[in-house]
């Protein structure tokens, strides 16, 4: 079976903060990483390939340096990696992003399954996976923690609040991978060496024959008009003393606040 995995390069959010004076992101040397859920997506793709044969192709839409993320995907064991990059794509919201990725996927030789991460660490919307599925008119299963493929059908176990739901879909289909799905493998030295030699083609707007009106800012209905740091509206009240004493104080406070 032929699998396409969509991966996004993201700034490591643990090192992003807001400058309280200027209300802007402070980055200073924030490293770029593969979106962590996308590593789970790659892993499940590779496992399915090991079981059923076929190929795993990694796609990423982004600026030229997103190639690093694709190189890492190759090192983990993906067969091909394609960078979807064009100035015309910059500023894409999730509608435009899913359009571009879907157009690129149409250009890939063949696909039975598309795997995305549950959500991206920076934009955090979880909208691109379902968006691609709708663009391509195929079924989807979000929050996947387990998959079983049988001929042209896939059974997906989904992690929901307090329950698991298992659904069956016809291939081709799209799933979004939860972290609980697997533990992504580390790229071995051989993989890293082999990945270094591989060519990563760049597909532009023209290559994927996309409509420029549907890409980038012009294809994006949403506009970010302002960013600001999260407000903290409360002060911390410190409770001090012996364990018994503070515990009693706390219970009283929580009762007063009607939290217990």
């Amino acid at each position: 079976m032929d699998i396409v995995v969509c991966i996004k390069q993201v700034p490591d959010t643990s090192e992003v903060s807001i400058d309280p004076e200027t209300n802007t992101l402070v980055r200073e040397g924030v490293p770029s990483i593969i979106n962590p859920y996308d590593e789970n997506a790659i892993e499940v793709g590779l496992q399915l390939k090991e079981e059923h044969g076929g190929t795993v192709t990694a796609l990423s839409m982004g600026p030229p340096q997103a190639e690093e993320a694709l190189r890492q995907a190759l090192a983990m064991g993906c067969d091909e990696a394609i960078l979807i990059s064009d100035r015309a794509f910059a500023g894409s919201d999730t509608l435009a992003t899913s359009y571009v990725l879907a157009e690129a996927i149409r250009k890939v030789d063949s696909y039975d399954l598309i795997i995305c991460g549950k959500q991206a660490f920076d934009g955090d919307t979880a909208q691109v996976g379902p968006g691609i599925a709708e663009q391509l008119g195929i079924p989807q299963a979000t929050y996947a923690v387990d998959v079983k493929v049988d001929e042209n059908r896939i059974a997906v176990k989904r992690l929901l609040a307090g329950s698991f739901e298992t659904i069956e879909m016809k291939l081709p289909a799209l799933i979004t991978a939860d972290k609980h799905m697997n533990v992504p493998r580390h790229a071995g030295l051989r993989g890293v060496m082999a990945a270094r030699k591989k060519e990563i083609p760049t597909w532009t707007l023209e290559d994927i024959e996309a409509d420029p009106e549907k890409c980038g800012l012009s294809g994006s209905p949403t506009t970010v008009v302002e960013i600001f740091p999260p407000q903290r509206s409360h002060k911390t009240e410190r409770l001090e003393g012996e364990a018994q004493q503070v515990a009693r104080q706390l219970v009283e406070k929580l009762r007063e606040a009607q939290l217990l």
Binding site: P11, T13, Q65, A161, K179, T223
Partner: protein, 399 residues
């Protein structure tokens, strides 16, 4: 390029270089230049002290949006009747509808949607659309997308709200793509800009490290998923009868793309419902050993709470994975969150900083968790937690 730096104005102060999360600004000959890496996120624009960063918004073509009227809430069905989040959306929806001087409608789908519609009609919305069919008994992406997209295309609401729940986040992006409009994810604030009659949507991004305000200027409807437990529920208005509209539907089971094979409430596999929990007691590495999670469980039992955990305790197998709270675990919004022996790393905070009240118990007075806590106890978890359990048992008479 839609963003560039005015070389005449730039003083070379480098503030923008630090502000860009994508390392897209470089200094060349003392001036800032924006490179290909730019994603047009806008993060740098306001930091420049001399307004040298020019952001050219795409030409605004005037779109006639006046055909679109009304605020819609897409209902979700819970165990008994409409889910809590639906009442919250109706509460917010009512406010928005008043500000816009328009009507509030609710959409319910299900195998017994008619009955739910009757009940809901007594308590707030001006109109209830319902579609009833056995094929709609359980939420499925395809069927729900078909019915709701059809309704939106036909009736043209100006605003459509979904819960940012598993269902809403699965469904809304499909509908947005089908009807080709914008969708803002996981909103924590919604208000109307009266001059432009626009919905201003506020949401956290970058794991909760920043907030963004987002608008959908030229497309209708303006759609958003809204985080549960943030908005005030609609107070029921019994005298207010709504118009009830049945939506005719028919399905051919063989043409539906998915089939639900199984739904398991799998407590044995360690599955827990953190998302809907009112109270969560979480343990971290400060517990030192896996067996010490027992003190967390005891407190949780006494409080009728659900047990949460930080990631290292999960990674080290101290507790089942589904207990994890944080950026790569569950995002939770309880009324009360008690963090025991958790340092408060940003990835943990990303999952729980939305709690109404946070209590931190940590031996390190400088632990970052105290910065978000409402009540902070500097102390040893092995003393404070059992003491709390005891007092809670005494006071609440449980356990």
């Amino acid at each position: 390029m839609n963003i560039y730096i005015d070389a005449e104005k730039c003083t070379g102060c480098q503030l923008c270089v630090k502000a860009c999360p994508y390392s897209a600004i470089q200094m060349a000959e003392g001036l800032a230049t924006i490179t290909e890496a730019c994603t047009l996120c806008g993060g740098c624009v306001s930091v420049c002290p001399v307004d040298a960063i020019i952001w050219e918004a795409p030409a605004v073509e005037e779109v006639d949006t006046s055909d679109y009227q009304g605020v819609w809430v897409i209902g979700e069905v819970g165990e008994d009747g409409l889910a809590g989040v639906t009442w919250e959306l109706l509460g917010k929806g009512r406010e928005l509808a008043e500000d816009l001087n328009t009507e509030l409608s609710l959409v319910v789908l299900g195998d017994e949607a008619g009955e739910l519609a009757q009940k809901a009609a007594q308590s707030g919305p001006d109109r209830v659309f319902y579609a009833e069919d056995p094929a709609l008994a359980c939420y499925r992406t395809g069927t729900y997308t078909d019915v709701i997209s059809g309704l939106i295309n036909k009736h043209k609401p100006e605003i459509v709200l979904f819960g940012a729940t598993e269902q809403g986040r699965d469904l809304a992006p499909r509908i947005a793509v089908r009807i080709k409009t914008g969708l803002t994810a996981d909103c924590t604030g919604l208000e109307i800009d009266p001059e432009e009659r626009l919905l201003v949507q506020t949401r956290p991004a970058f794991g909760g490290n920043i907030m963004a305000r987002i608008i959908t200027r030229n497309h209708r409807p303006q759609m958003a998923t809204v985080r549960p437990r943030v908005m005030q529920r609609l107070q029921s208005q019994p005298e207010h009868g709504a118009e009830i509209v049945e939506v005719p539907v028919s399905f051919n089971e063989t043409s539906i793309m998915t089939r639900i094979i199984d739904i398991a409430h799998d407590e044995a596999a360690g599955q827990v419902n953190l998302q809907d929990a009112e109270i969560i007691v979480s343990g971290g590495r400060g517990l030192k050993k896996p067996e010490n999670f027992a003190i967390i469980r005891e407190l949780a039992d006494a409080l009728g709470a659900v047990v949460g955990a930080s990631r290292p305790t999960v990674d080290d197998g101290w507790i089942a994975p589904y207990h994890q709270v944080g950026q790569t675990g569950s995002t939770v919004q309880p009324r009360l969150y008690i963090a025991c022996g958790i340092s408060g790393a940003v990835q943990h905070l990303a999952g729980m900083s939305g709690a109404d009240c946070i209590v931190a118990i940590n031996s390190d007075p400088a632990a970052p968790i105290f910065e978000v806590a409402h009540y902070g106890i500097v102390g040893d978890v092995f003393e404070v937690v059992p003491a709390l359990t005891e007092i809670v048992r005494e006071e609440l008479g449980s356990g």
